[in-house]
Amino acid sequence: MTELKTELKKLVIDALDLEDVTVDDIDSSEPLFIDGLGLDSIDALELGLALQKTYGIKLAADSEETRKHFASIDSLAELVASHKAA
């Protein structure tokens, strides 16, 4: 799981082309949007695309569920792990 989280952090940094942020800077439980990393709705779209490309996960663009998955690296990791298991 730790490995997956690191992988996801890297994905977030690469997909969103974040500057001055390293894997170590991202707290797995920290909110990705607004408060924590300060990401916005355009980033959510980019991240959705990256997840689709990397793991084949499709998420409805603006659903309550998507928002829940995107809350943090922890929740994203759960999503990816369950998708892999399925």
């Binding site: 974040l18 500057e19 942020v21 170590d24 607004i34 300060g38």
Partner: protein
């Protein structure tokens, strides 16, 4: 006795004062008669060339003035070159038929170097020049960042000189004019050459790049005028409370607004208020002020201003424009009585970021309002998404903040500072925290200097060895100055990939290439000390002060500071500093 000010068109018409000193060269007076002889030499040489436009670069101001008048009398136009590098010549080749001045390389264009002096007989009389003659073409940096060619008729130069003479002629009297700016640019041309000639006061033929040179001249002269810029005034080397040598009658500053503190310094140091001139190559002079008396600008004689009710822009009506229409400038202003105004900054620059409109001007003001930010510029980057990016200059406490907390924490705090006023999608995502904005020699911050700081390939680090021969300079020499300090002698050959087809105008060495070179050589030379660290995490205090043109030889000084996990690079040629900065290694595992 005051001399009647002359129009430039009729300056040489009659030799009423053949012995009048027009210039001081090596501390010796050069007379009006000498000037006329030399103008005749240049005229003769220019007439033998079919070219209509000459690229002119002459170091000595007297020789330059004579060449200019000689070209005009031969019916030719002078394109003023900022330098004489091969690449510059290559760029203007389409616009000029020949060159005039200090050129020594083998050239593809015909050139007049120093014409042979003809036998010195009686000075022949010159007719009046045609005011409509296309006298000069000046190169201006322009607010867009791309250099622009601005042609000017003799009447425009003549009218502007007359305007300044009407305002400052009495104050300056016959004082000698000393300058820290080159006559190869419009400000120096007007103030160091044409205004002294028309006003009957001598000019010092040497450019005084150092304060000491200017003071040495002034100490030998009965009275002096200084033509300078905020770049020089803000860096004038002297002790607090010290007074300048010499008897200064007028100190003129132009090309950028002068900070109030430097205006106060100038007045106390030179004993006269610093007179700032506001204008541009495109508009000519517009207004003046002496901030220590009043921060409001007053228009020069014959110029009217108004405020555009819609945009708040300063509107201008000036005889120097060659028409009677109102011209909308790019500055916002508060106007009083049609002849006085206060500048309120550049007109709002509105950008559309991912569909949302944002005022970059407002974002800059908000950033500058932060207690640790002295100046800030916001640019728009087009990448994966359209985004704003900031170059912010921090004050001393800000620099300490950056050193202790790190770049990420500081940029995050600044982003938070903006978050109250701006929506998340328009908030800056890229930050360059510097101790001073990347200004050019004229004190301006060209867009190009800001953009190179965000060059995508500059943000990430190429593997050592990725730079092939076509992307590296010629290494002419290498000298170790200390165990952790090395100086490389480099030639920036014009064949480099960076100069191939990227430029609409004058090619320059991109900032990102300089950074790559610094890293490349640091890796090569400090190899054993760097081996354990494979990446550089960030650049700090990167400054690009002067452009590097193809063909130039430069020194690159690299200093490793292992205890601070960084190395410092500096590109210079002994006199001029081109760029400098620090590169910080990634995650500090152990001290090296």
């Amino acid at each position: 006795m005051m001399t009647e000010p002359k129009r430039l068109t009729g300056l040489l018409q009659s030799v009423v004062e053949p012995d009048r000193v027009v210039a001081l060269r090596d501390n010796t007076g050069v007379t009006m008669q000498d000037f006329q002889h030399r103008v005749a030499d240049w005229q003769l040489a220019a007439e033998q060339q079919p070219a209509a436009v000459f690229g002119v670069y002459i170091k000595d101001t007297f020789e330059f003035a004579a060449a200019l008048f000689g070209l005009w009398y031969a019916g030719k136009t002078a394109l003023l070159m900022g330098d004489r590098l091969p690449a510059t010549i290559e760029q203007i080749k389409g616009r000029v038929g020949a060159l005039a001045g200090d050129f020594d390389e083998p050239l593809t264009l015909p050139v007049i170097r120093q014409p042979e002096p003809a036998t010195r007989g009686k000075v022949r009389s010159f007719p009046a020049l045609d005011p409509a003659h296309p006298a000069v073409i000046v190169l201006t940096s322009g607010s867009t960042g791309t250099p622009k060619l601005v042609p000017m008729a003799l009447a425009q130069l003549d009218d502007e000189v007359a305007m300044h003479e009407a305002q400052w002629g009495l104050v300056a009297g016959q004082s000698a004019v000393i300058g820290t700016v080159s006559h190869q640019h419009i400000y120096g041309l007007l103030w160091r050459v044409l205004w002294p000639l028309a006003g009957g006061r001598p000019f010092v033929s040497e450019l005084c790049q150092y304060a000491e040179d200017a003071l040495a001249h002034a100490s030998r002269l009965p009275s002096s005028v200084l033509v300078t810029t905020p770049s020089h005034l803000s860096r004038w080397p002297c002790q607090t409370g010290e007074k300048a040598e010499g008897n200064w009658r007028l100190v003129v500053s132009s090309t950028a607004p002068l900070a109030l503190e430097h205006s106060v310094f100038g007045r106390d140091y030179f004993g006269v208020p610093v007179t700032e001139i506001f204008g541009s190559s495109e508009t000519g002079g517009i207004a003046w002020r002496q901030q220590t008396e009043d921060e409001v600008w007053t228009t020069l004689k014959g110029i009217a201003v108004d405020c555009d009710p819609e945009s708040g822009a300063l509107l201008l009506q000036s005889p120097l424009l060659g028409h009677q229409n109102w011209l909308k400038t790019g500055d916002r202003a508060e106007v009083f009585d049609r002849n006085r105004f206060r500048l309120l900054g550049r007109l709002d620059r509105i950008a559309k970021i991912e569909g949302k409109r944002v005022s970059l001007t407002r974002m800059e003001s908000r950033l500058t309002a932060h207690p640790r930010v002295t100046e800030a510029r916001v640019v728009v980057l087009e990448g994966r998404r359209t985004e704003t990016a900031v170059v912010a200059a921090l004050d001393e406490s800000g620099q300490r903040w950056l050193e202790t907390e790190g770049k990420r924490a500081v940029s995050r705090a600044l982003r938070q500072w903006l978050a109250d006023d701006f929506e998340t999608p328009v908030l800056p995502r890229r930050w360059r925290l510097v101790d001073a904005l990347p200004r050019n020699a004229q004190g301006k911050v060209p867009q190009h200097n800001l953009m190179v700081l965000f060059d995508k390939s500059g943000g990430t680090t190429p593997e050592a060895g990725v730079l092939n021969d076509n992307r590296l300079p010629v290494l002419l020499g290498q000298e170790w100055l200390a165990a952790n300090q090395v100086q490389l002698h480099l030639r920036v050959q014009p064949e480099l990939a960076f100069f191939q087809g990227h430029f609409d105008e004058l090619p320059v060495l991109p900032g990102v290439a300089q950074i790559h070179w610094a890293e490349h050589y640091a890796r090569a030379l400090f190899n054993e000390k760097l081996a354990s660290r494979d990446t550089f995490s960030r650049m700090e205090t990167v400054k690009f002060q002067e452009l590097i043109r193809p063909g130039r030889e430069v020194f690159m000084e690299l200093t490793l500071q292992p205890e601070r996990s960084r190395f410092v690079f500096r590109l210079h040629d002994g006199d001029t500093a081109f760029s400098s900065g620090r590169m910080v290694f990634d995650a500090l595992q152990e001290p090296i």
